[in-house]
């Protein structure tokens, strides 16, 4: 050894106490306790009603409608959104501006208006016919028969969602390193298969977190179908409220279910995220994420991996 410094015996190391955040945390906790106590002990709210109606059959039906609508609309929205995203990045300027106009219009107008439009489509088109334009008609049905409350709701929500998903999928595609595309092309994949087999699956990692958020929003947006006689969770709950004016109680009933649904959705989102980030040792993704300090101090290991990684 060149430096004959005696090996220091391990010194006792004292971490710095962090008074600021401890006091803040205590204050918040205290405030929350106070708040919780006031809310629960409030004589204006009859929690028995909440408990009594939580599993009411009509509420359950509403829950089912909300769930089915949200899942359906989200699925169609994702698929159509992916198509729009690819159109938006197309070579063909007509397709590109078409997709642009779609996104502009459907993001720009309130979903309420869109729902009313689909539901009242018969104002514009009293019948819907399938056939050759200016030629023979094969099937003709009245619009109101097709555009039931459920169909309009699902359609309206899905078409609206597609506009948002298009931007999300597009960001996902753009996030994939060009090297991936080139490697796939060089291997002999066609551009289309490169997109579907290499780019889109990897884009999922970036697409899933915002899609999860969208789905959580969607669960709650379904309540707007009230205006077109859709019997979703919130509408059903409020129907009870209107009978006896106990609005708050029934809003709590609905909220409990919404919280449950969103919690389950969040849970599912984490699992999907984990699945699609397999092979990546980045652990920056969703909660429970690394703490800020862990980031500042640093997980050099994962950084190094990322540098070496292909993406």
């Amino acid at each position: 050894m060149i430096n004959p410094v005696p090996a220091a015996e391990p010194a006792r190391v004292h971490r710095r106490p962090r008074w600021g955040s401890r006091v803040l945390a205590a204050a918040i906790l205290f405030f929350l306790l106070f708040l919780g106590q006031s809310v629960v002990s409030n004589p204006n709210v009859d929690y028995h009603v909440v408990v009594q109606y939580l599993f009411n059959i009509e509420i359950m039906r509403g829950l089912l409608v909300t769930l089915v609508l949200a899942v359906l609309a989200q699925l169609v929205g994702v698929a159509l959104g992916a198509v729009l995203a690819v159109m938006r990045m197309s070579d063909n300027s007509v397709l590109r501006s078409m997709a642009g106009a779609y996104i502009w219009f459907f993001r720009g107008t309130p979903i309420l208006v869109q729902l009313l439009f689909w539901y009242n489509l018969s104002l514009w088109f009293p019948t819907i016919s399938f056939g050759v334009p200016w030629g023979p008609t094969f099937v003709e049905v009245t619009t109101t028969a097709v555009m039931t409350s459920f169909v309009s709701a699902a359609l309206g929500l899905a078409l609206n969602e597609a506009a948002y998903m298009a931007e999300i999928v597009r960001a996902g595609i753009l996030s994939i390193d060009r090297g991936q595309t080139e490697a796939a092309l060089a291997m002999g994949l066609t551009p289309r298969r490169t997109m579907t087999r290499i780019v889109l699956p990897q884009a999922m990692r970036v697409v899933i977190p915002p899609t999860g958020n969208e789905f959580i929003s969607m669960l709650k947006t379904t309540s707007l179908v009230q205006v077109i006689a859709g019997d979703d969770l919130l509408t059903k709950s409020l129907n009870f409220a209107h009978i006896n004016s106990q609005t708050i109680e029934f809003l709590i009933v609905a909220s409990v279910w919404y919280l449950l649904l969103t919690s389950v959705a969040t849970y599912g989102q984490h699992h999907l995220e984990a699945y699609y980030s397999r092979g990546s040792s980045h652990n920056g993704g969703g909660p429970p994420g690394p703490t800020l300090r862990a980031r500042l101090r640093g997980n050099l290991f994962s950084l190094r991996r990322a540098e070496r990684g292909a993406a």
Binding site: L185, A186, M187, R197, R305, G309
Partner: protein
């Protein structure tokens, strides 16, 4: 007598106003190893990418094994091929990138077998078996199930080589395959490439590793400013460079 494996004829390429390739002519015979060296920005990568039509040439043409890459020749000029035809041509040309470009969501084995299965329609069992053999050949028998992020740079690059070999290419293109590696890891990749050359693979290699070029290349081409300034055996180009620019470059890199 078989013709050249690669034949570039007056290849020009512009990026907007930038004239990047100014008429490249180069032939590579079957089984030959040609290394391309030259300063950054001289157009080495661009040329290599023209060979498998990752870049479209603006004028001139590139033939691989006698076929024009990316175009059908007709009376009125060159007609662009369909995506599927280009893909078929590319499937016979292996390419290894500087940054490996492994698919991060697939294991090493999946990376290697996906091409044969998707592109050549090989059956899964056969492809997997051959994939394992290839990974074994590049010294990674124990890493088949590792994801790229779990491998060192040198290991990743060897998987990338195995992935290209899995397509049974007639020609391999390498674009600075070791320049993203830690110095101690460079050797393992160069070893694999040397073996490949000895096995008779036709190779076009862009590299900064003068030692490798000297040892393995049949010929070395020195590019500068979009042209091939000189081209000859390693002894000629490295030992007795004829051009001032070549000398200047070599003195920088070898110092």
């Amino acid at each position: 007598m078989s013709g050249p494996m690669v034949s570039a004829q007056g290849v020009h390429k512009h990026f907007g106003d930038l004239h990047v390739l100014k008429g490249i002519d180069l032939e590579v015979a079957p089984g030959e190893v040609v290394c391309v060296i030259g300063p950054s920005g001289s157009g080495k990568s661009t040329f290599l990418r023209c060979v498998n039509h990752l870049e479209r040439v603006d004028a001139g043409k590139v033939l691989v094994d006698g076929e024009i890459i990316g175009y059908h020749e007709k009376d009125d000029g060159l007609h662009e091929m369909s995506h599927a035809e280009v893909a078929r041509q590319r499937s016979t040309i292996g390419m290894v990138f500087q940054r490996f470009n492994l698919f991060p969501n697939m294991t090493a084995l999946e990376n290697v077998v996906c091409g044969p299965i998707w592109v050549n329609g090989e059956n899964r069992t056969g492809a997997v078996e051959r994939g394992r053999r290839l990974l074994d050949r590049v010294g990674l028998a124990d890493k088949v199930d590792g994801y790229p992020a779990q491998l060192s740079g040198g290991q990743q690059q060897r998987v990338a080589i195995a992935r290209a070999l899995a397509m049974r290419p007639k020609l391999m293109l390498f674009d600075e395959p070791t320049s993203a590696l830690d110095p101690e890891l460079v050797g393992e990749v160069l070893d694999v490439m040397g073996d490949l050359a000895r096995d008779g693979m036709t190779m076009l290699v862009v590299t900064h590793e003068i030692g490798f070029a000297r040892g393995v290349a049949d010929r070395i081409a020195f590019m500068d400013g979009g042209s091939i300034v000189e081209c000859g055996t390693p002894a000629q180009v490295i030992g007795q460079p004829r051009h001032e620019r070549t000398r200047a470059f070599l003195s920088k890199v070898l110092s």
